[in-house]
Structures are given as C-alpha cells and as structure tokens.
C-alpha cells in the first residue's frame, strides 16, 4: 500500500514538475556550458550545483570565482541574493512540520521552482502529501543537477545557437505571476510586490534594491494586516 502510494505520488510529482524539467533543461544546460566556457572542469559546476543549489547565485559565483579571493563577499552575496528563501520557509513552516525524516532534505532543497509548485498548496488527488513534497523536491533538484552536468560535459560539442536562452528565468516567473494573479480574489499582494520592487529598483539601483524591496513589502503587509486578513480570509 505504502509503496503504491509513494509511486502514485511520484507520478503526480513528475506531472507537476514537467514545466520545471523543460525550464531547467534549458537553464542548467546553459549554466554548464557557461562554466565550461570559463575554463572549469565539469566537476566544478556539478559540485556547485549540489552544494549551492540556487540558480541565480550559481551564475553569480561562476563569475566571482574567476576573480580575486573574496570569501566575505561570497557569503554576503549568498545571503542577499537568496534572502527570498526566508519567505519560502515561512510559507512552508506548517506544511513541513510533520514531514519527519524527510524534513532536512525538503528544507535543503527548497528552491524557487520547488516552492513555485508546493507553495500553491494543492496536492493532486491520489497522492500522499509528504511523498509528493519529497518527489517534487527530488525531481527538481535532479533536473537541475543533470542538465548542468550535461551542459558542462557535452555542451561545447553541440552545434546550437543558445543566444536568448536566459529568458527562461523571466518566462518562469511571469508564468507563475500570471497564474497566481488568476487564482487570487484580490490583487493587493501581487501589485504591492511589483510596485514596491520597481520603486526600490529606481531609488536604490540594481545592486541593493532587493533588500529594500523585501523590507518594504513586509512592513506594508504587516501595516495592512487587519484589512488584508479580512479580504483573503486568513485567520489571524
């Protein structure tokens, strides 16, 4: 029974992660190719992918490790670029509470794309909630690691023009944004995220705006807690 349930959950997780497979197929492949073009052996992007496991930071680190030794910068940039994960963790706190032995793996692998699926809160019919979390996390990580390895090892031999492939990231977030927009009853959150971040980008420039935007978003959401709780139906 348990094996059957796990298998059903794995199938459901695979169906839910097909878009990620396509997106990562593109993106991981270009990351591996990029590292190869910088002169690194395939082992470097593969180890980076397994340990850092955060696409945008991996791209940033790829250029940083070709420069001077700057451990503190590496650490701070890592915190700053990935500070959004704090939000994911907060959103998943209660859902991951009873996941037992899987929990460390689920937290380690809570990447943007995994949150984009599990953060929606739906579990397909016939799937076990915890196995579904596990397989979505595992599949997404595997797609990223394998496509990176593929790009690093074989990328240079393929006669492909990959210019423009970097649009895969905006396409992913635009798709999630639109689908979240269509599901919500009011758009205060979506518009606040978009508007505040845009204002911060204009005010603080592209290096520091993310930290400011996150602070303002949280402050604003806390200030309007009563109002937003009543329209979204959140118990608070």
């Amino acid at each position: 029974m348990s094996v059957k349930l796990a298998a059903a959950s794995a199938r459901a997780a695979f169906r839910a992660t097909v878009p990620i497979l396509i997106g990562f197929g593109f993106c991981g492949f270009s990351y591996g190719l990029y590292m190869h073009s910088l002169g690194f052996e395939p082992i470097f992007p593969i180890v980076m992918t397994l340990t850092i496991l955060a696409g945008s930071l991996e791209f940033i680190m790829a250029s940083m490790i070709t420069g001077p030794f700057a451990p503190l910068t590496a650490f701070l940039v890592g915190l700053l670029v990935n500070a959004r994960h704090l939000f994911y963790g907060i959103a998943m706190l209660d859902r991951y509470r009873d996941t037992g032995a899987m929990k460390p793996f689920l937290i380690y692998g809570l990447i943007d794309e995994t949150f984009s699926i599990l953060g929606r809160g739906e579990v397909p019919e016939g799937a076990d909630r915890r196995w579904y979390y596990f397989f979505v996390t595992l599949f997404n990580e595997s797609y990223w690691v394998l496509s990176t390895a593929f790009g690093a090892v074989f990328g240079a031999d393929l006669p492909l023009d990959t210019r423009g492939i970097e649009f895969v990231l905006p396409a992913l977030f635009l798709a999630i944004f639109v689908s979240s927009w269509q599901q919500e009853r009011q758009h205060v959150g979506s518009l606040a995220g978009l508007g505040i971040t845009l204002c911060c980008l204009l005010a603080f420039g592209s290096t520091y705006f993310l930290l400011a935007a996150m602070t303002f978003i949280i402050v604003l959401l806390l200030l309007f807690r009563k109002k937003l709780s009543s329209i979204t139906g959140t118990v608070s």
Partner: protein, 106 residues
C-alpha cells in the same frame, strides 16, 4: 586563485544559501506565531511580483538589445499563460519566442 580558495568561496556561498533556507524552521520550531502564518499566506503573490522585476533589474537581457525583444516576449509569455494556463507551454513558448527575436530580428 588556488583550487582551495575557489572551494572556500563555493562553500561559503553554499553555507549562506542553506542559512536562508533553515532559519525560519529553526526560529519557529514549536508553534508558528499568527503573524508569521499571516505573512506565509500573503507573501507569495508579492514575491512573484518582486521576482518578475528582479529578472529585468539590469534592463535588457541580451547584449545589444534595445528592450523590444524583452517587451514582445513578455507579452507573448503573459498571453500564453492567460490563454493556455499550462506552465510548460508558457515557459517554452516565451523562451523560444525571445530566442528567435534576438537571433533573427533584432
């Protein structure tokens, strides 16, 4: 840099990333405060808006682009998602459209 120095930098970036993932779970171990639960429900839609802006923080993505391919491909992406409601179709369609635009047209 020596290989050891490269490894140290990669390890620190990995450590920083893991801190951002573990912190909420370590801080709110026994019971999630109501205010944090509230943030967990309203934050995601704001995050998606934030990340869309984040992707375009440096203006056009491709070198030498005047911004038109980005605008057109974004419109195609949004329209595809609104119409088909299928993430795989949207992401592949939007990206291929952008690749075609920067490689052939602009």
């Amino acid at each position: 840099m020596t290989t050891l120095q490269i490894c140290i930098m990669i390890a620190l970036a990995a450590l920083a990333t893991q801190i951002t993932r573990w912190l909420p779970f370590l801080l709110f171990r026994s019971k999630t405060p109501a205010v944090v639960t509230y943030l967990g429900t309203v934050l995601p839609s704001a995050i998606w808006g934030m990340l869309v802006v984040y992707c375009f923080r440096n203006g056009p993505l491709a070198e030498g682009s005047n911004g038109m391919p980005e605008v057109l491909a974004s419109i195609v992406t949004i329209a595809l998602q609104a119409w088909k409601k299928n993430m795989a179709v949207t992401i592949a369609g939007g990206t291929l459209c952008y690749m075609a635009l920067v490689q052939w047209l602009f």
